[in-house]
């Protein structure tokens, strides 16, 4: 029909226009941008603190109270320098940090997180190597803590680019309820893995839940890592986490550690509710007297000390032999400098301030472990247990990365994998193979 034809003819340009908009929109939305080769990749080597008024923005996810206190103390020492903290919730932080650091409005300082290697590879954070020498950071910070923050700028396993500097440290271990332990005839922390095995059996025999694990989120991988730390040579393990050429987790040692986890679960040593319990909930249940032992990190020490007082104790997962190297898993609350900052020297001054006695006291007061245990008085009770264990690990250069630092996609296979191991739904061999698959995808298998 004629009329219809006219309407159709008048409509056609509209559709064409719409189509054009869509096509151009798609063209402009080619995903991602390439790195800018003109931006500096490294900090200057002078340490002179600039004297003009400067405000530095700091984006972070952990411990707002700690950051506020550090910023205030830093401002007091350098009144013309101001730190402006910007807080983001951890889960959102990890997801947005790549984009934040790639944007033109990137903050001057940023808390280091999983995936920072990619950010460094893009040139969005500066190599702090010159500061390390100029400020003498090798003497001020524990070697293992700096090592976790070192890479080639392309690959974490090589090179000596420094990505960040730690403020406070974290570490995992095993808490125990002294009162309940005594009921099972346990009077002291185990010194060997075999002794711990016997203690778990004794608790089970006494009709109590031996080991609480919050395996719904990350408690399971902490338990696995704790066993692995004492089975696999730390240097070999770290090479794997950092993606060194040819590294693998499919080793005899890792298999033995994984088999131990399965054995404990089969014998009923691990709380059968583990797979359905978060770390927080497992800690709460431990406080209420469910579970004689609990795997968790130093971040729970404050809560446990407050709720249980002298009843709570802490020890590191024991090794096969007494007097072996003290190894544990941990990381740091650490900060990196954006390559878009206009004040790299002021930012450097803040990072160096983190090593000061004053900063370390603030760190310890906020529940983190100090980078230098000598700088702060050893606290009492379970907090003291944690601090002493941490000093042993630092002295033995025994701080390993958390296993999920291997690749951004590693957390899920670890979490789901340990759940399956605990339920007997997979074999240690298949579990390790699934982790190595993720590793191969990240770092390439044939290299």
């Amino acid at each position: 029909m004629d009329g219809h034809g006219i309407a159709a003819r008048t409509r056609a340009p509209v559709f064409l226009a719409l189509l054009a908009v869509l096509v151009t929109a798609c063209g402009a939305l080619t995903p991602g941008t390439a790195a800018d080769p003109d931006r500096p990749r490294t900090v200057p080597s002078q340490t002179a603190v600039p004297q003009e008024d400067i405000t530095l923005s700091l984006t972070f996810a952990d411990a707002p109270a700690l950051v506020d206190a550090l910023a205030a103390a830093f401002h007091k020492r350098h009144p013309h320098l101001t730190i402006e903290p910007r807080y983001t919730q951890f889960a959102d932080y990890v997801k947005s940090i790549k984009l934040t650091m790639a944007s033109d409005t990137a903050p001057d300082l940023a808390q280091f997180a999983v995936g920072m290697d990619d950010i460094a590879a893009r040139g969005d954070i500066l190599d702090l190597g010159p500061y390390r020498d100029a400020y003498g950071w090798r003497k001020k910070f524990p070697a293992a803590a700096l090592d976790q923050l070192t890479g080639s700028g392309e690959r974490a396993a090589e090179g000596d680019h420094l990505y960040g500097v730690p403020a406070g440290l974290s570490m995992t271990g095993i808490y125990y309820n002294k009162e309940l332990a005594r009921k099972a005839g346990i009077t002291r922390p185990p010194r060997t893995l075999a002794e711990f095995d016997r203690q778990l059996a004794a608790v089970k025999k006494a009709g109590m839940t031996p080991l609480s694990v919050g395996a719904l989120d990350s408690g399971g991988l902490h338990l696995w890592a704790a066993l692995l730390n004492n089975a696999m040579e730390p240097e070999k393990y770290r090479a794997w986490v950092k993606g060194a050429e040819g590294a693998t987790i499919e080793t005899e040692e890792a298999l033995a550690a994984t088999a131990k986890l399965v054995e404990w679960s089969r014998k009923g040593y691990v709380d059968e509710a583990a797979g359905g319990t978060t770390q927080n909930d497992s800690t709460g249940a431990f406080v209420r007297g469910r579970g004689v032992f609990l795997i968790n990190g130093n971040w729970a020490a404050g809560q446990l000390s407050e709720a249980m007082g002298k009843k709570a104790g802490f020890f590191l997962m024991p090794a096969a032999h007494e007097g072996a190297r003290a190894v544990s898993s941990g990381f740091s609350v650490s900060y990196a400098i954006s390559s878009r900052t206009r004040h790299p020297r002021a930012a450097g001054a803040f990072l160096d301030f983190l090593a000061s006695k004053e900063a370390q006291k603030i760190v310890a007061a906020n529940g983190f472990l100090a980078v230098d245990e000598e700088a702060v008085p050893t606290p009492k009770g379970v907090l003291g247990d944690v601090a002493r264990a941490h000093r042993r690990v630092t002295d033995d250069d025994g701080m390993n990365h958390f296993p999920d630092f291997t690749a951004p996609g590693m957390l899920d296979p670890l979490r789901a994998g340990v759940q399956k191991l605990l339920a007997g739904r997979t074999t240690p061999e298949a579990y390790l193979a699934s982790l190595q698959d993720v590793w191969d995808e990240q770092y390439g298998s044939g290299r």
Binding site: H4, E272, G409, A416, Q419
Partner: protein, 313 residues
């Protein structure tokens, strides 16, 4: 009237009609612009991204249909789709059944007494109670149910209290029961919605139909099956559509209660899209999975609509 004049007249009419049509588009424009900017373009953009291998920041790499091949061959992704289909039973079928039963009970007096005004007393209270899950944010629902399902939670305590302690288990950590447990949370949330839809539908039914049925000697059950149910066909289609979409696109409840565990027992596509894009840095694969999920949902919704339409005529 000559043929030419007739043609002119028709053309004139056509012109007016075109003008009217144009005015119509003008009215639609604001809504269409919003829809285009916030629904159509992002959807097309997602489809476009699915053709790339992209980590979300650095320059993407053209991947063609590789991501789609992975969606269909990776057993983990296929397992997630299967889990979502299981959830349809709990998110769609059970709530509709529950909604129908509740509607039947709540509209019973009105139907059997015949008077439109004589409603069951306290109907408002029931409606409020059953509607409540809809009002509570799903994250709060998830956290609450995580506690209820916990080892020392209310459900296990109750089982122990009535002598079924052997059935107590960490529901969300149990490989055989986690998906059922998560599904029942959905049943709890969506039953109220279905009931509200059906109750609203019941009020539109002509009371004469009930009167006729009663004159024919129908009891309350017969009334429900022969009068209420057929008259609710439209509402049933809406409820089925809404709840099926909720099941296939489920994310919040699963994310909060189990995070996809234990193992991958409760992993659903929505959760995977989120994880792939934001933690694994595989935006292209996540987009491809999103596109496939959308097509699956569109297909199912189309089938539901077709079925309800053919039954009506």
């Amino acid at each position: 009237m000559t043929a030419a004049a007739g043609q002119r007249a028709r053309r004139g009419r056509g012109g007016r009609r075109a003008g009217r049509a144009w005015r119509g588009y003008l009215y639609v424009l604001p809504a269409a612009a919003v829809y285009l900017a916030f629904a159509v373009l992002p959807a097309l953009h997602t489809a476009y991204l699915s053709l790339f291998e992209w980590d979300g920041v650095t320059l993407g790499e053209w991947a063609g249909l590789r991501n789609y091949r992975e969606v269909f061959t990776d057993p983990a992704l296929r397992g997630a789709v299967f889990n979502a289909l299981v959830l349809v039973v709990f998110f769609a079928l059970l709530p509709i059944l529950a909604g129908l039963v509740m509607t039947g009970l709540l509209s019973l007096p009105r139907a059997s007494l015949g008077g439109a005004g004589s409603r069951r007393r306290g109907l408002g209270v029931y409606r409020l109670l059953f509607m409540l899950p809809q009002v509570v944010p799903l994250v709060a629902v998830g956290v609450t149910w995580r506690w209820l399902y916990g080892e020392d939670g209310l459900i296990n305590e109750t089982l122990g209290g009535i002598g079924l302690g052997g059935w107590a288990r960490p529901w969300l950590g149990d490989f055989d029961w986690a998906l059922v447990a998560v599904g029942l949370v959905g049943t709890w949330v969506l039953s109220g919605l279905c009931m509200m839809l059906f109750l609203a539908g019941v009020h539109k039914i002509d009371p004469q139909l009930y009167e006729a049925a009663r004159l024919d000697g129908a009891g309350p059950v017969r009334e429900f099956v022969s009068v209420t149910l057929p008259q609710l066909r439209g509402e049933l289609a809406v409820a089925l559509t809404v709840t099926t979409v909720a099941a296939l696109a489920s994310f919040d409840i699963v994310y909060v209660t189990t995070g996809g565990g234990p193992g991958e027992e409760t992993t659903v596509p929505g959760l995977l899209v989120y994880k792939l894009a934001f933690t694994d840095g595989k935006v292209g694969l996540a987009s491809a999975l999103g596109v496939v999920l959308s097509l699956l949902i569109l297909g199912l919704v189309y089938v539901i609509n077709r079925l309800s339409r053919t039954e009506r005529t």
